[in-house]
């Protein structure tokens, strides 16, 4: 859970206090990075997006309205930057190269025990969510992994509740099917 930022610090940051803003960065860095990494599946890209997101937050913070949670606002910035990135040529080219490499490589010798370790779990998630459209991926991450409400997810992605539910349904179904394939591939012989 993200600790809420004290009103005093938030007020100072809005007035242009750099130190107060640093407190916000420190308090929200992990979750901003986590969302970006789960969306993009790459450390360097996740760091770039995180940096960019906080820069945009700083530039727009004088316009901040207290009606919306600061974390929701930051989620919105991060998620939209990720969605734009996933649609970019740079990402598509990289994904193509990655897929070619994966196809040429020898099948991994992972055991089900390996799948239980943290890093493998993350890779498993990235692999399973590869099959999703950018929007489905965003909805799945926000709703199922970040445990945000439907209302917050609607606000972040600028879609209605039906849109959230429909994308979540397809995302869960596709991920489940992919997971089944992954488990079958790694079944002990």
């Amino acid at each position: 859970m993200i600790k809420p930022i004290p009103t005093e610090i938030l007020k100072r940051a809005i007035e242009g206090d750099r130190r107060a803003f640093q407190k916000i960065v420190e308090g929200h860095l992990s979750f901003a990075y986590a969302v970006a990494y789960r969306m993009l599946g790459n450390r360097a890209d996740a760091e770039d997006i995180t940096q960019d997101a906080f820069f945009r937050l700083w530039k727009n913070i004088p316009k901040y309205k207290v009606e919306i949670k600061l974390s929701t606002w930051l989620y919105k910035i991060v998620t939209n930057l990720c969605l734009d990135f996933l649609k970019s040529t740079r990402y598509r080219e990289r994904k193509f190269m990655h897929d070619v490499e994966a196809a040429n490589s020898v099948q991994s010798s992972l055991t089900p025990e390996d799948i239980m370790n943290g890093e493998e779990l993350q890779n498993q998630l990235l692999q399973a969510s590869e099959v999703l459209s950018p929007l489905q991926k965003a909805v799945f991450i926000l709703r199922d992994l970040e445990a945000l409400t439907v209302e917050e997810t609607c606000e972040i992605l600028s879609i209605d509740a039906d849109g959230v539910k429909s994308n979540l349904f397809h995302a869960r179904k596709k991920i489940s099917a992919t997971l089944k394939l992954i488990y079958e591939t790694h079944e002990p012989k």
Partner: protein
């Protein structure tokens, strides 16, 4: 309701109302196909819980924070009255004021006014002892006449004329 309608409801079971859930529960009791979907949904929920447990973190949070803060520049303060002051105007005003101070510092008032000397040699004494005051004043005037002052000469028409005469004399030679 047909099975394909239940499929979406099973995958979104947590989003349903209590009454909607009861309808799904009832269908699951009699439908083996939908029960399979239910099992897949349950499996995914367990996996999602594991995924939630491992939050990806930056390799070096302090370094990333530093990188972020390096691009954070404090904007110019929005103070209306400060904006109203034109910087160039302010610079000229400050320059004029400092010139005024320099002039005031070097300014020597004319010495032939008695009250000036009153201040120089003690106000009470001079008021009571006029002759002593006049004596100092006369001596001052004498010493001033002995040294040539170009400034004083410019103020004096005769002095300027005499310099001009001397100049003509030297040029004609």
């Amino acid at each position: 309701m047909r099975c394909e309608n239940f499929e979406e409801q099973i995958w979104l079971y947590d989003e349903l109302s209590v009454s909607q859930r009861q309808v799904v529960d009832e269908h699951l009791k009699h439908c083996a196909d939908c029960e399979k979907i239910w099992q897949a949904r349950t499996q995914l929920r367990l996996t999602t819980r594991d995924w939630k447990g491992v939050t990806p973190a930056p390799e070096n949070s302090a370094q990333l924070t530093h990188k972020i803060m390096a691009q954070i520049v404090v904007p110019s303060m929005n103070i209306p009255w400060l904006d109203a002051i034109n910087t160039t105007w302010l610079r000229y005003a400050m320059a004029s004021l400092s010139t005024l101070f320099v002039v005031a510092f070097f300014y020597t008032p004319p010495k032939n006014l008695p009250h000036q000397h009153l201040q120089a040699s003690g106000v009470r004494d001079v008021n009571l002892n006029t002759s002593a005051f006049l004596k100092v004043k006369i001596e001052n005037r004498k010493s001033r006449q002995q040294t040539f002052s170009l400034l004083a000469c410019i103020e004096n028409r005769e002095c300027v004329q005499s310099i001009a005469k001397k100049k003509k004399y030297y040029e004609s030679r």
